[in-house]
């Protein structure tokens, strides 16, 4: 059974997508999701028996494989330059081990 669309679901979606939904906005979000899900429900009128899901419009093309060789590198400083917090060429994050 699909999870009912309620405050608990919005909390769950918030956890999964790492977004904090303020308590006062939860009800609005429930209504919003209910509206969308009932709107897209019209797709059930379309007969899709024996139809395969389509991931890409270029599915007739083989996935190209490039040669397994190093094409760049030695750009650590350029990559790390954008990090909000860094030290000695490492990305810094809050402590994860107690």
């Amino acid at each position: 059974m699909p999870m009912p669309i309620d405050k608990d679901m919005v909390k769950r979606l918030g956890i999964l997508s790492r977004l904090s939904i303020p308590e006062e906005n939860t009800e609005e979000m429930v209504t919003e999701i209910k509206k969308i899900i009932s709107w897209v429900d019209q797709l059930k009128d379309v007969n899709t028996d024996d139809v395969l899901p389509m991931n890409s419009v270029v599915e007739d093309m083989d996935l190209p494989e490039r040669k397994d060789e190093i094409t760049d590198g030695d750009i650590r400083d350029a990559v790390i330059k954008n990090a909000p917090d860094q030290m000695d060429g490492y990305f810094l994050v809050p402590k994860v081990v107690e």
Binding site: M1, P2, M3, M9, V10, R12, L13, G14, L16, S17, R18, L19, S20, I21, M29, E32, I33, K35, I36, I37, W39, V40, Q42, L43, K44, V46, T48, V51, L52, P53, M54, N55, S56, V57, V58, M61, L63, P64, R66, I75, A78, V79, K81, N82, A83, P84, D85, F91, V93, P94, V96
Partner: protein, 497 residues
């Protein structure tokens, strides 16, 4: 010298070749025009030093008789979705604050290699999610056109490539890049009276384009004429080993397609794009009138059916958010952009994303996450992917009968920033009704100005949709529409001449 901004790109290329003016002069004229029209908010970053330096290099290449590019010396606007080495790129999101890419997107690199000169980064809806350019962290863009019944009304330029469209329409660049996921080039092109083309999915590389919905995102062009579109598309398209979905086939000289001859060409008019409700009568009138003019030019007008059209919007609004929720998972406050501290790693992620994403982006991430939940995945996401295949098949069948399809680009003309419809996301989605089906099918489509609304005086764009890789055919038809429309190809000078 300021009159240089009135030129089309093709005219400017000729003037540069004849040494009537230099790229530095052409570039400076556009920089001056940008300074006069800042209230449009079309650019989020201007890069005058870089532009003049590139223009100077272009002039040097020319004077030394070196090999010249297809867009040698032409000033362009770059949608802020394209990563540009050393120039801040944020997709107009707070979460990418201060991000300066260490690499260049393939499309912007191709344009640079063809000699063009980047003037700056253009405003857009945050992560390209929007139809009106109202979701940008850097504020709304103003459409240079005015509603003649209410000239003081702040009109939106359409979205998501709204900054690019406004900049091209106002002469703040000769052309600009756009990107189109569900209509983000064609809608603003229609609202701003310019030509906007989304080529076939796989025609242009997506490398270095900030991702929204990867199975739909495609780079495209925004120009004031169809010929300029042909030049720009040839400059930016092509194979790229850095994008596994780009198709390896030669890029033709698109200008050669502009023969003006459409005799015997079959043009399909889809019944489903002409609903009783929800299509502005001025738009319908321009559509009918244009079809008649094309018939007089020798084309055959054929009624066709695309019966599943009504299911395209719900299909799109399942697939696009699902892909977006996955693509946007990378913004975690660690590698680039904004960070908002928290006590734990998880809390830092959540605080960063909550503060960094705007309302519409959060809404789509939540919806995308929902339709991928167990219990919803099959009935929503997988179902949408199946309907997508049916929609593609209907287009395949249609192209057995016709060469191109002619339809409105948008059901309305540009609307006001504070109109009621802008408050309701579901209503806003309806503006994509005519652009989304061809996006889902990965087809090339161009929006070309075809007339003005009698009521408001605002421009109306029509869409020519082609079969895969038939860019040349739709350019040819668009060229004829341009010449019979009687529309101006000159910019609207909002800052005065």
């Amino acid at each position: 010298m300021t009159d240089l901004v009135e030129l089309t790109m093709a005219e400017a290329l000729e003037g540069l070749a004849k040494k009537e003016f230099t790229s530095v002069e052409l570039t400076q004229a556009h920089l001056d025009e940008m300074a006069k029209a800042r209230d449009l908010n079309a650019y989020v970053i201007e890069t005058p030093e870089l532009a003049l330096e590139r223009a100077k290099r272009s002039d040097n290449r020319r004077s030394k008789g070196e090999k010249l590019g297809l867009m040698e010396g032409i000033p362009v606007g770059m949608k802020d979705l394209y990563c540009t080495k050393g120039v801040r790129t944020t997709a107009c999101s707070h979460i990418l604050d201060g991000f300066v890419p260490p690499y260049e997107s393939t499309v912007s690199l191709n344009l640079e290699n063809q000699g063009s000169v980047m003037l700056g980064k253009t405003n857009m809806d945050e992560f390209a999610m929007g139809t009106a350019n109202l979701t940008s962290y850097y504020g709304a863009v103003r459409n240079p056109y005015k509603d003649k019944t209410n000239p003081n009304k702040f009109l939106i330029p359409g979205g998501s490539s709204g900054g690019s469209a406004a900049a091209v329409a106002a002469g703040l660049c000769m052309c600009a890049t756009g990107s189109d996921t569900g209509g983000s080039i064609r809608t603003p092109a229609s609202f701003c009276g310019i030509v906007g083309m989304k080529p076939t999915y796989g025609r242009c590389s997506r490398y270095g384009m900030i991702a929204f919905a990867s199975s739909l995102d495609q780079a495209g062009t925004m120009t004031r004429t169809v010929r300029d579109t042909a030049i720009m598309l040839e400059s930016m398209a092509g194979y790229d080993p850095k994008d596994s979905t780009v198709v390896n086939r030669p890029v033709p000289c698109y200008q050669k397609a502009l023969t003006g001859d459409i005799k015997g060409l079959k043009i399909g008019i889809p019944r489903e794009y002409n609903p009783d409700k929800g299509l502005n009568s001025d738009v319908r009138h321009v559509w009918e009138q244009t079809a008649e003019k094309l018939r007089q030019a020798g084309a055959e007008i054929v009624d066709i059916n695309l019966p599943s059209t009504q299911y395209a919007l719900p299909t799109y609004y399942l697939i696009a958010p699902a892909e977006a929720s996955s693509n946007l998972a990378r913004y975690d406050g660690v590698k680039y952009g904004l960070r908002v501290d928290g006590k734990s790693l998880d809390e830092m992620y959540t605080n960063t994303r909550t503060a960094g994403f705007g309302k519409e982006v959060k809404r789509r991430i939540m919806i995308g996450t929902c339709v991928l939940l167990e219990g919803y995945y099959e009935t929503c996401y997988l179902k949408a992917q199946k309907v997508r295949r049916l929609l593609c098949k209907e287009f395949d069948d249609a192209y057995k009968k016709v060469d191109v399809i002619l339809a409105p680009a948008a059901p309305e003309t540009a609307f006001g920033k504070d109109d009621d419809s802008t408050k309701d996301p579901l209503k806003m989605q309806l503006y994509d009704v005519f652009t989304v089906p061809s996006s889902l099918a990965g087809l090339p489509a161009i929006s070309v100005p075809a007339g003005y609304s009698e009521t408001t005086g605002l421009p109306i764009g029509l869409q020519v949709i082609g079969n895969k890789f038939c860019e040349e055919t739709i350019l040819r038809v668009a060229g004829v529409i341009e010449s019979v429309s009687g529309m101006s190809i000159r910019p609207l000078r909002v800052g005065g001449k």
